[in-house]
Chain length 201, copies 2
């Protein structure tokens, strides 16, 4: 693909993450890319269009887990795989975008909200991903029950939800309080606590 075009996409993404869609001005985009407004509008019809492409090309894959990498036999392994895969995914997107940021920040959340607001397709994708996530967790819980890895009177789905909700709660909590570096650790301990409550002690 064209070099300048890619440059615009890349620089725009950084700006969007930094400040959100509305707060980024054309001036800034043009300035960061080193191009002119004319050049920009040669490649894109509008600011909205860059945003949409940026979200589709970059952000979508950032939030899409590769479920095939997860263990399907042990809940304990599944949890570990989940965290590992997520870390890899985030790291990969950082490298790809040569972003110096060390972690997902509150700004990433803003951007996701912008995307949900502005792009119905993205919103739908997210909803489907969440359904899939719940399904896959429910499945591994069922397996773990059968294997006697855990035991509980709660339904598989309800247990799955506890794992998911805990991680999400930790997510916003750490991001809002700018303790991003603790996210993985915090999720790990939360999950292992849940696990020990479920395993027959």
């Amino acid at each position: 693909m064209n070099d300048s075009r890619e440059r615009i996409l890349s620089k725009s993404l950084n700006l969007f993450i930094e400040k959100g869609f509305k707060e980024v001005t054309m001036q800034e985009i043009v300035q960061k890319t080193g191009l002119s407004k004319g050049a920009f509008y040669h490649y894109f019809n509008s600011k909205e269009q860059v945003f949409e492409e940026v979200i589709n090309h970059y952000y979508t894959e950032l939030i899409t887990p590769n479920y095939y990498a997860f263990s399907k036999k042990s809940l304990k392994d599944f949890c570990a795989d989940f965290l590992k895969e997520k870390k890899n995914r985030v790291d990969a997107s950082k490298i790809k975008n040569s972003n110096k940021e060390k972690a997902i920040t509150l700004h990433h959340y803003f951007l996701m909200f912008d995307a949900i607001k502005m792009l119905p397709a993205f919103k739908k994708l997210r909803e489907e991903l969440q359904k899939k996530e719940l399904a896959i967790w429910t499945n591994i819980i069922a397996v773990a029950k059968k294997n006697k890895e855990i035991k509980s009177t709660s339904s598989n789905k309800d247990i799955a939800k506890l794992f998911i909700y805990a991680s999400k709660g930790i997510g916003i909590h750490c991001i809002i309080n700018k303790t991003h570096n603790d996210i993985r650790k915090e999720i790990k301990t939360a999950w292992s606590n849940l696990y020990s409550m479920l395993s027959n002690k």
Copy 2:
């Protein structure tokens, strides 16, 4: 207090909730209030100032739980009280502001993020509230352990976190997926699942 001034505050709040700080324009504010720009700037120095006052007077109390209303003896009661008090609080703010909205929406989150970004005092307040929340949960968990209401090898704090994180995860999850009406129900079942996992069955 002056009538027009209050009117500006009230209408601005609704607009801020609907669209977020940046997206609300002066035009809209004066239009909704039925006043003129001159009138607005007679009472306020800037858009930022209204925002700050709106957050301080209305939003702060919306997010501040009245912990005295909670049971200090039984975890089960504490959970119920927590949900009931939260409902009351949200309802009260709705009545006060004659807001027709049925539930906290994604926009409320946006607004909170705006407030965190723009108002350091609000950010601090939130952080303190969260610390307090964790402390009070940890305490009730300790009590419940002593009472043999629950039993677990996990630390009180870790268990407290599970309850808190679950509710927060459910919060964003429901809000993003526009299933606001399920929040209370969802939290209830999540907590009761946690509870049953902790109580000696």
